[in-house]
Amino acid sequence: MKSRKLSLVLVAVLILTVVLAGCSGGSKGTEVIKIGVIGPMTGDNSMYGTSVREGAMLAAKEINAAGGVDGKKVEIIAYDSKGDKTEAVNAYNRLRDQDGIVALVGATFSGETLSIKEIAIGDNMPMLTPTATHKDVTLNASNIFRACYTDPYQGATAAVFAMENLGAKKAAVLYNIEDPYSEGLAIAFRDKFSSVGTVTNYEGYTAKDADFRAVLTKIAAQDPEVIFLPDYIAKIGVILSQIRELGLDMIPISGDGSDGIEVDYADVAEGMYYANHYSKSDESKLVQNFISNYDKEYGVQPNALAALGYDATYIMLQAIDRAGSFDSDKIIAELSKTDEDYVTGHITFDKNGEPLKSISVIKVAGGKQVLVDKVSAE
């Protein structure tokens, strides 16, 4: 009997401990503004999440150096999603419950952003994804905005560029069926291109595929002038080396997933084109300042994802500043009023939270990025 009482007391103490611990961890800090960042920071695609984090950190550092937001310091809390949808949800829950973030700059990939979308809507979390380009990300979500252009827009622009600037009549599409980003671009490219030209092949592969010689040989038999490869560098690099090895004569075109491909794959990427968010050769003061500050901080040149992470953090913090409180509705209302110049262009949002901005087409020439054309939206 005595031991039973004792165990009851123990249980009560245990419950109390948990409750108290929950209180101290869950309350929102008033002295610092916590902003969450989610993206793959290890694994095949680690460079994407790392770049976004570094861009966000740089923006926060600059804002803190200038006195913070409303006198409060900004803190960036970044969690690794490994590019995995489940991990992204875990990261989001941790940011919300444990860290008590005010707003989220993320997630990085479309897949992971879509996986946290419904939860974020439920929480009415002010959310600005710097880099998720899938069209469904902002659909029916008043709290979700994005800083980059969408997959359909990007894919269609690539198709227009192939037809008008390169004069292509026949194009092939090779995409990753397991990735919504890749598929989104592929569909948009096919639909746009086939309105005027011919899409000779529309082929898919799975994420684990490493051998493309068979499918490339098959595509080459149709003799397309361009091949559209919407994926990320790790895969595009492999495909490009096999195109080179087989000696196939077609111009590779890709989306913003190729940003930075000239670092590891300079020889095989020579002569390819890709759509991107900004160009390092842009001479505006804003862009050049960003590049030099980033270089000073991390010792490398920023890629487009770093620029988007940087822009998104600025947009978010400016909205919080204007809102003058941590109230989600007020922050969201201020986000939608954004109208300013940023590194990746002048940004305003439409009623769905889509940015209206320009798109840069870049060519890899002599192992460097060269800005070929700037296509303006609307």
Binding site: G204, D209, A210, V215
Partner: protein, 292 residues
């Protein structure tokens, strides 16, 4: 027709890598009845060795290849000595679980040392097409094919004509009898691991050159397919591994080229199931009654 020939060459090249790796599975199985699940990781280690040698020295491709094969052979012998030898007389399932453990260990070791990001393999072979008539064959494809065939011939001669090769066959036939005949069984098993690992490393180096990347989990998929190849050809039989490897590479390529690239793995593994339904011992395997 040219297109078909081109695809056949692609298939042979893919298949030859599977065949090289499958040889390691089948030789080890033949001699100690162990499915060495760590073999894919030996292949990965071979690729990392080549990567390290290539970026730290300016050695030409053949030397890089030889050194990485030797290092992988040592690694193979070492894992056998540490992990499998103490379990020689334990139940087979214990050794199998140990092999899975070794596989995870090596994978995570590579993860800790080299991090998860894929490393870009230096271009050890200049990538360009060679034209033979209307046929265009890539230099890497050709090198892979030629090297694999050369090493398979060497292996065949070694197993059939040399003393250690004879010992290997004897041990795989009957370990106790071989021991009574004065064959050093432990050393023979060691040699088998060394050769299997060296061939695995050759496959790994060629694989990483073809697909430009080296990463800790690179051995998993080719390892699995090579294992399937070994089973398909008849596990324990050297010609079976070669045949199985080429068959898998061919089916994969043909299904990518003429059916659908998304379905190629499903087709490969589906075919495996069908073959094993009708011939459980593999294409070249004989139906033998279990010895009592």
């Amino acid at each position: 027709m040219i297109l078909f020939l081109q695809q056949m060459i692609n298939g042979l090249s893919v298949g030859s890598i599977y065949a090289l790796i499958a040889l390691g599975y089948t030789m080890v199985y033949g001699i100690i009845k162990l499915i060495n699940f760590a073999h894919g990781e030996i292949m990965m280690a071979g690729a990392y060795f080549a990567f390290l040698i290539a970026i730290t020295t300016n050695l030409p491709f053949p030397l890089v290849l030889v050194f990485s094969m030797i290092m992988a052979a040592i690694l193979g012998m070492f894992t056998e000595y540490i992990a499998y030898k103490p379990l020689r007389n334990a139940p087979r399932i214990s050794a199998l679980i140990t092999a899975i453990g070794v596989s995870f260990f090596l994978q995570n070791l590579a993860l800790v040392i080299f991090k998860a990001n894929p490393k870009i393999m230096p271009e050890l072979i200049v990538k360009k097409p060679i034209s033979i008539g209307a046929l265009k064959i890539g230099t890497v494809t050709l090198t892979t094919l030629v090297l694999s065939i050369i090493f398979m011939i060497i292996l065949d001669i070694f197993v059939k004509k040399t003393k250690p090769g004879k010992a290997m066959r004897a041990v795989s036939e009957d370990k106790e009898a071989a021991m009574l005949m004065g064959i050093n069984v432990d050393r023979t098993i060691s040699i088998t691991f060394a050769i299997g690992s060296a061939l695995g490393a050759l496959g790994g180096v060629l694989y990483s050159i073809t697909y430009t990347q080296v990463f800790p989990t690179m051995g998993v998929m080719p390892g699995l397919k090579a294992f399937v190849a070994a089973v398909l050809g008849g596990i324990g039989l050297i010609p079976g591994a070669v045949l199985g490897g080429f068959v898998i590479g061919m089916i994969e390529t043909v299904s990518k080229a003429y059916i659908s690239s998304q379905w190629s793995d499903a087709i490969v593994f589906g075919l495996l199931i069908i073959v094993l339904l009708f011939k459980p011992t593999g294409i070249l395997g004989k139906n033998e009654k279990e010895k009592v």
